[in-house]
């Protein structure tokens, strides 16, 4: 199956949980925010949430930046 993550088509072998997907990408689920099909997901749901064919994910986290000067 295939999902779109951060604008990139990504192939997955099987339906896995969101948390598993994030860990597989080397990300700590505790430090990212995820939008699934436009809806922000609460962190507690990451483990239970199955990724499905055609889902659109946005994975976001903090980077350096911030001040206007």
């Amino acid at each position: 199956m295939e999902i779109i993550c951060n604008g990139v088509k990504t192939a997955l072998d099987a339906e896995i949980s969101l948390a598993t997907f994030l860990r597989g990408k080397g990300l700590n689920p505790d430090t990212v925010a995820v939008e699934c099909d436009g809806v922000i997901q609460a962190r507690e749901t990451y483990e239970g949430m199955r990724l499905r064919e055609g889902m659109v994910l946005e994975v976001i986290r903090f980077v350096g930046g911030g001040a206007s000067c």
Binding site: N6, T10, G26, Q41, R61, F62, G65, S68
Partner: protein, 255 residues
Amino acid sequence: MLTIAGRIFSSRLIVGTGKFPSSALMRAAIEASGAEMVTVALRRVDLNDPGDDLMTMLDRHQYVFLPNTSGARNADEAVRLARLARAAGAGEWLKLEVTPDPRTLLPDPVETLKATEVLVKEGFIVLPYMNADPILAQHLQEAGAAAVMPLGSLIGTNQGLLTRFQLEIIIAQARVPVVVDAGLGAPSHAAQAMEMGADAVLINTAIAVSGDPVRMAQAFAAAVKAGRDAFEAGLGVSGPVAAASSPQAGLDFLR
């Protein structure tokens, strides 16, 4: 002591985490600045090259994370970014930035006020970046902003306090802390802002791009402290000092 939304800060310097040559230097410079609040930005993760995670580089217990909504061009985009920041674990603090004009990056007053109203209702601690407009500061304050962040001059220009006269009015009228942001290119600019009675300043570029970010962070920390001390001690005044020996000045009618 600086108090924002009930939280006490012993440092009046807030620093940004962007534009540093390396993560190690960023960490060292922030440490040297003595800041207790740091601004951070939100971006999509590059899944092919996730790189360092800012949240693990800085101790979440040592610093209050102040995520910004940089890049937002209207209230809706800013609100979405704010919600994502909260979902990413930054808590309720938010530096609201709405900058539709990519050349000047001047904040949009109308959209900023709209977003403040929405986000305050959602429980965010909103610190809006704003032009140095005293009336806008009043409206933002009434909308529930926890502090206001007027600019000293255009972002990245290092021109210092070009908005000085409006800043004076904002500071005199404010019931929430005034944090001067943008345009502060040198420690002397920060000291001037603090001498005027600003509650805090926010610095990023001037520290991050200096030849020695750690020393520059120390310089800003010293300037902020000096400026605040001078403000609290009461600055002397320039100009002629009045003396009792002046002529009666037309007051002979008094009985």
